[in-house]
């Protein structure tokens, strides 16, 4: 009988990291850390003006742009990352949709000169031209994520809670894996 050695760490044992991890990707330093707690809101409306009035906040008009923590993801879709404790009006009765999704996702920050290389291991976008103030929904390998360029060489990554352990270890594996190379 062909004996095959058991898995050292199985997928079912992975847990989301709780502390920052530092390493190198393609010879450049990177730090991956859990993001600070936030409140999250999915905001939808056909008419941006009505939505802006409903929640009393400015909204970016171009898809992929962020203004004061609110990104426009689609023609009728905005997504807000706001400080903990923020509460937005529900827009009841208006032709808008305001839904809190704070608990739906987990955020990571990816910082450093190697941040683009760390994300490029699984994200197919050309992030070199992804300047601060941009945000988009995309994928990391098979998992849907959002990537926000919050500052030079600094990115905030949003991922649904149950995919976070896999994404954390996939990002972290890139560091440990190549740390010793160059």
């Amino acid at each position: 009988m062909l004996e095959i050695a058991p898995l050292a760490v199985a997928g079912i044992d992975l847990a989301t990291g709780t502390a920052a991890v530092n390493g190198m990707v393609s010879g450049l330093p990177v730090c991956i850390a859990p993001a600070a707690p936030l409140t999250r809101w999915s905001l939808r409306a056909r008419d941006a003006g009505a939505l802006s009035a409903a929640i009393g906040r400015a909204l970016p008009d171009r898809i992929g742009v962020v203004i004061d923590g609110i990104a426009r993801l689609g023609p009728d879709e905005w997504y807000a990352l706001l400080p903990e404790g923020t509460v937005l009006p529900g827009g009841a009765g208006l032709p808008v949709s305001v839904v809190e999704v704070t608990a739906r996702a987990v955020g990571f920050t990816v910082e450093g000169a190697g941040a683009v290389a760390a994300l490029a291991r699984g994200c197919p976008l050309d992030l070199a031209g992804f300047a601060p103030g941009r945000a988009t929904r995309t994928v990391f390998e098979t998992v849907e994520v959002q990537i926000w360029a919050t500052a030079p060489e600094t990115y905030h990554v949003e991922v649904w809670r149950s995919f976070a352990p896999w994404l954390w270890h996939s990002l972290a594996a890139g560091l440990a894996l190549t740390a010793g190379l160059d």
Partner: protein, 954 residues
């Protein structure tokens, strides 16, 4: 000159000897050697055995085109890799390699008997025999064939190595690091954009590495390249596939060239490169000549001989004969002579050879024979000498030698160009295909574009010889043992397409994928068919250019990172309780909570009894959840679901049934109206993404006028199902802002308030038939509320239960599970769910399909209960139901068991099934044939517990 190492020369470090083992013997080479060059230096000419005839094989080429020197490299336990080309195995200290495909040894291979009786095994022989006696194919012939099949040994242990993958972007990607490639990279670098240069060697230079005259230029180009910050050079990297819109797949070897002890990090990395422009500079591959004995070990390409001498300081032999049909053979001979290799003679098929070359050869004391062809090579495991004759048929002359170099011309490498669907144009001058017009932003430079002067020559099929082709051991595909005669036989038997000839002879189907055999095969086919080569065409070039490791192509999708396992916020608690889990879609869910070594059955009976008699709690967080918000929310759900929604008041819940447009049940779930313009929708765990995608499709493309929006909240809410007569008592002390009294908060109602201080949406929903609540709280508070409810429940004997118990309890009530009781071919009527279909609604998704003739024809399977006559008999889910168990096979079947459990509440086993005209059969006996026996059962209504629903409405 000791052995075959030249006293001087070569781009090797003679101060760094490297010890290695091959087939159990110790050898030593130098840093800068490949395994191939070090072995030749050590006097080893026999390196392998061919696939079919097991003929002795020596080195043929110097790179990716090598078909013969395939070795297995052992880098320690579970790190053994078969079929590696010795020409591409970098030498490192302690390298352990062995030959393959021979038994008992490389020198004495018993299977070479295939060669002795080779006449019995021409191309396609296996189609003509092994058919008698009929059983012998499986009993005798195939087992023997499989024993002899394959080259190296398959790995047999889990691979401890890791692999990495990444995307990359650049404005210009240059593939091939020879002079032409480096110059293209330097030009591109001037534009300031990102440039990537790929080369499969560990040292840039390509062909120039074997041409001392070009070394100064090479050194200068490489220095200028190093100065360009925007150029990334990927060495030891092979671009293997050219996909849509300049998307290139490449694999970088990271540690195989290092001694195992120094090898840290991933073994290989997959590069997925998107390039603005692709410049192909892959050079050309020298073409063997086809003549009797051209496969004796020691017969190799002239470029291989030159590379050994100039790049590795190794003489391929002590007396070398060159058989040329192209000027490059002469240049290689002269360069090798200058490096100290004794060239016994240059034989050229052409009558006239460029004067300067002939002159230089004579000046170097090399015998020259033009207008001649080798007619035989003597020697079995190594070359002993050659026989040649004018025009191949004149009087025979002999030359003693220990190596023969073939210079048959050059084939520009158009592999990647062809992957990219660029057209090919036949070039008479090259006797090969050159790149035509590209459909991608791609251009070819250097030899692979036919733009590199390697001199000129003539293209030959089989060299002229007095012996007929069928009597010559003249090889076209050295690994798959395809001789020129085999191509003649293929055409004789009616194979006229090159694709037929290739598949019939297996020419070009070996691990080198025809790099040295396709063009010769085509040329021979052309002469036999009497049709010009350009009319016959080439077989399709398919990725990968060279074989690539599965591990590299998986990237980091290996072991624990293969695929995400989705876990709820309660998962850790369940793990601590020793729960046994099951995979449901890409989630994992607790199936049951065994205590003290209980079996699943025992645990489930205990959990069921706890829910029926006291109270149970269940993690329902994995159910799909969608927030439907907007003025047209109710109208939208009205159009999607079979049920009417407009009349549902805020604070009420309703069971929703969703069909596909073809009328078959796709999903179901309970939904609550939170407000006039807000619904909290629930779907099955497996259907969540599918349902949301389908709804977005209809909303965006069919009913884009509706003001309503869908937001996935599957992972926003943790959901605790609290079921049982004591459920209300458990949460009463925890809930604020909601009157839990039965009248104020009836079954199928929904309220908002707080529980354990956490905001909640509390629904009175029961999938068990007991008094039931579904507690929805924000996921990051889920565990806290779970613990609070668990603590509050201790006094009432609260018990956690899993999916198996949930299945039993819902089955006792006859509630369906979409995907288990239905299989995508059932209508609402089939499943007894007509009550959920809004008869007055003009339309909903699937309604029109329900009106098709067959959708309510007699004989459709209907959802019913089954009670076995033997109360203890547990039916097997999936078992078939028949009306007449004595009917002969194929026995007509009328349905199957969808669910079957032991039921504490019913005090016996119960089952649900779908049976043709099932409802009309209630009360009748049906039969479930099992291997060796028949089980009798009575058809009942699908309801085994509290039919009036009194407990539900407590």
């Amino acid at each position: 000159m000791s052995g075959y190492r030249l006293a001087r020369g070569g781009r090797i470090d003679r101060n760094r000897p490297v010890a290695f083992r091959f087939d159990g013997r110790d050898y030593s080479g130098f840093a800068g050697d490949t395994l191939a060059s070090a072995l030749v230096a050590g006097g080893v000419t026999l390196l392998g055995r061919s696939f079919k005839y097991h003929r002795p094989r020596g080195l043929l080429g110097m790179g990716a085109e090598e078909p013969n020197a395939l070795v297995t490299v052992d880098r320690g336990p579970a790190r053994i890799t078969p079929n590696l080309r010795a020409t591409q195995v970098a030498l490192h200290d302690g390298l352990v390699a062995s030959s393959q495909n021979r038994w008992p040894s490389l020198k004495f291979d018993v299977v070479a008997l295939n060669d002795v009786f080779g006449a019995l095994f021409p191309a396609g022989f296996y189609n003509k025999t092994f058919m008698w006696p009929r059983a012998a194919w499986e009993a005798l012939y195939e087992p023997v064939i499989r024993r002899l099949a394959g080259l190296g040994e398959s790995p047999v242990a889990r691979d401890p190595d890791h692999y990495d993958a990444t995307y990359a972007h650049c404005e210009v990607l240059v593939i091939g690091g020879g002079i032409a490639g480096i110059e293209a990279a330097l030009d591109a670098a001037q534009t300031g954009g990102r440039v990537i240069l790929i080369d499969d060697q560990d040292d840039l230079g390509g062909g120039a590495l074997s041409d001392a005259a070009l070394w100064p230029l090479l050194t200068d180009l490489k220095a200028r390249l190093a100065g360009c910050a925007n150029v990334t050079v990927l060495g030891r990297t092979t671009a293997f596939g050219y996909y849509h819109q300049n998307f290139i797949g490449a694999v970088e070897s990271l540690t195989d060239h290092l001694a195992p002890a120094e090898a840290t990090g991933p073994r290989e990395r997959l590069w997925r490169i998107r390039a603005g422009e692709v410049v192909l500079a892959q050079g050309a591959i020298e073409r063997p000549l086809v003549f009797d004995g051209n496969d004796v070990p020691g017969v190799m390409l002239a470029s291989a001989g030159r590379t050994l001498a100039l790049r590795h300081g190794v003489a391929v032999g002590r007396a070398v004969v060159v058989m040329a049909a192209h000027d490059s053979g002469w240049r290689d001979a002269l360069a090798m002579a200058e490096a100290g290799v004794t060239i016994a003679a240059i034989i050229d098929i052409r009558d006239v050879v460029p004067g300067d070359l002939a002159e230089a050869a004579r000046a170097a004391g090399i015998a020259v024979h033009t207008g001649c062809a080798i007619t035989h090579v003597s020697g079995r495991h190594a070359v002993k000498g050659v026989t040649f004759a004018a025009a191949g048929t004149g009087p025979e002359r002999h030359i003693a030698c220990d190596a023969v170099l073939m210079a048959g011309g050059w084939t520009p490498s158009v592999h990647l160009w062809s992957h990219g669907k660029g057209s090919l144009a036949w070039s008479e001058a090259w006797g090969a295909y050159l790149p035509g017009t590209a459909i991608e932003n791609c251009r070819a430079v250097g030899a692979c574009a036919g733009a590199w002067s390697l001199g000129s020559g003539v293209i030959t099929a089989v060299l002229p010889n007095r012996k007929p082709v069928r009597a010559q051991k003249a090889f076209v595909d050295f690994q798959n043992d395809v001789k020129a005669r085999d191509i003649h036989l293929a055409v004789q038997e009616g194979m006229r397409s090159i694709e037929h000839i290739k598949r019939y002879t297996t020419n070009g189907m070996a691990t080198d994928q025809g790099k040295t055999s396709n063009l010769n095969g085509l040329q021979i086919a052309s002469t036999v068919l009497g049709r010009p080569v350009a009319d016959i065409g080439l077989t399709t070039f398919r990725p990968p250019y060279t074989p690539q490791t599965f591990g590299a192509l998986m990237g980091h999708h290996k072991d624990a990172l293969f695929q995400p396992v989705r876990k709820s916020v309660i998962d850790d608690w369940a793990t601590a309780q020793g729960a046994v889990f099951e995979n449901v879609s890409n989630w994992r869910r607790a199936r049951y909570f065994p205590r003290g070594g209980e079996t699943m059955e025992a645990a489930v009976l205990r959990e069921c009894a706890a829910v029926r008699n006291a109270v149970g709690m269940f993690d329902a967080s994995t159910l799909g959840k969608i927030e439907v918000v907007g003025p047209d929310a109710a109208e939208f759900l009205n159009r999607m679901y079979t049920n009417p929604w407009k009349g549902l008041q805020p604070g009420r819940c309703r069971y929703g049934l969703l069909l596909r447009e073809d009328g078959f049940i796709m999903d179901d779930g309970v939904s609550a109206r939170i407000a006039d313009d807000r619904f909290h929708l629930t779907t099955t765990t497996g259907g969540a993404a599918r349902v949301l995608g389908m709804m977005e499709d209809y909303l965006q493309t069919e009913w884009s006028d509706l003001d309503v929006w869908l937001t996935s909240t599957t992972e926003q809410w943790a959901v605790i199902a609290l079921q049982g007569p004591m459920a209300r008592a458990v949460i009463a002390p925890l809930v604020e802002g909601i009157d839990l009294d039965g009248a104020a908060f009836p079954h199928m109602a929904g309220r908002e308030g707080t529980i354990a201080g956490v905001p909640t949406r509390l629904f009175r929903v029961s999938f068990t038939g007991e008094l039931g609540f579904e507690i929805n709280v924000p996921a990051h508070e889920g565990r806290k509320v779970w613990d609070a409810v668990h603590a509050a429940g201790q006094a009432h004997g609260i018990t956690a239960y899993g999916t198996e118990t949930m299945h039993v309890l819902r089955a006792e009530k006859g509630f369906i599970i979409v995907g288990q009781d239905t299989d995508g071919t059932m209508t609402p009527a089939d499943m007894g769910l007509d009550w959920a279909v809004g008869k007055k609604k003009p339309d909903f998704v699937g309604k029109r399909s329900l009106a098709r003739p067959d959708m309510d024809a007699p004989g459709r399977k209907q959802f019913v209960g089954l009670l076995t006559e033997d109360a203890g008999e547990l039916l097997e889910e999936g078992a078939q139901v028949v009306a007449d168990p004595d009917a002969p096979i194929p026995m007509p079947m009328i349905g199957h068991v969808t669910s079957a459990y032991r039921s504490a509440a019913a005090g016996r086993t119960i089952a649900l099934a779908v049976i043709a005209d099932g409802r009309a059969r209630i009360g009748q006996t049906v039969f479930i044939p099992m291997p060796g026996r028949v089980i009798r059962a009575k058809v009942t209504a699908p309801m085994f517990y509290d039919p009036e629903g009194s407990r539900l409405n407590a």
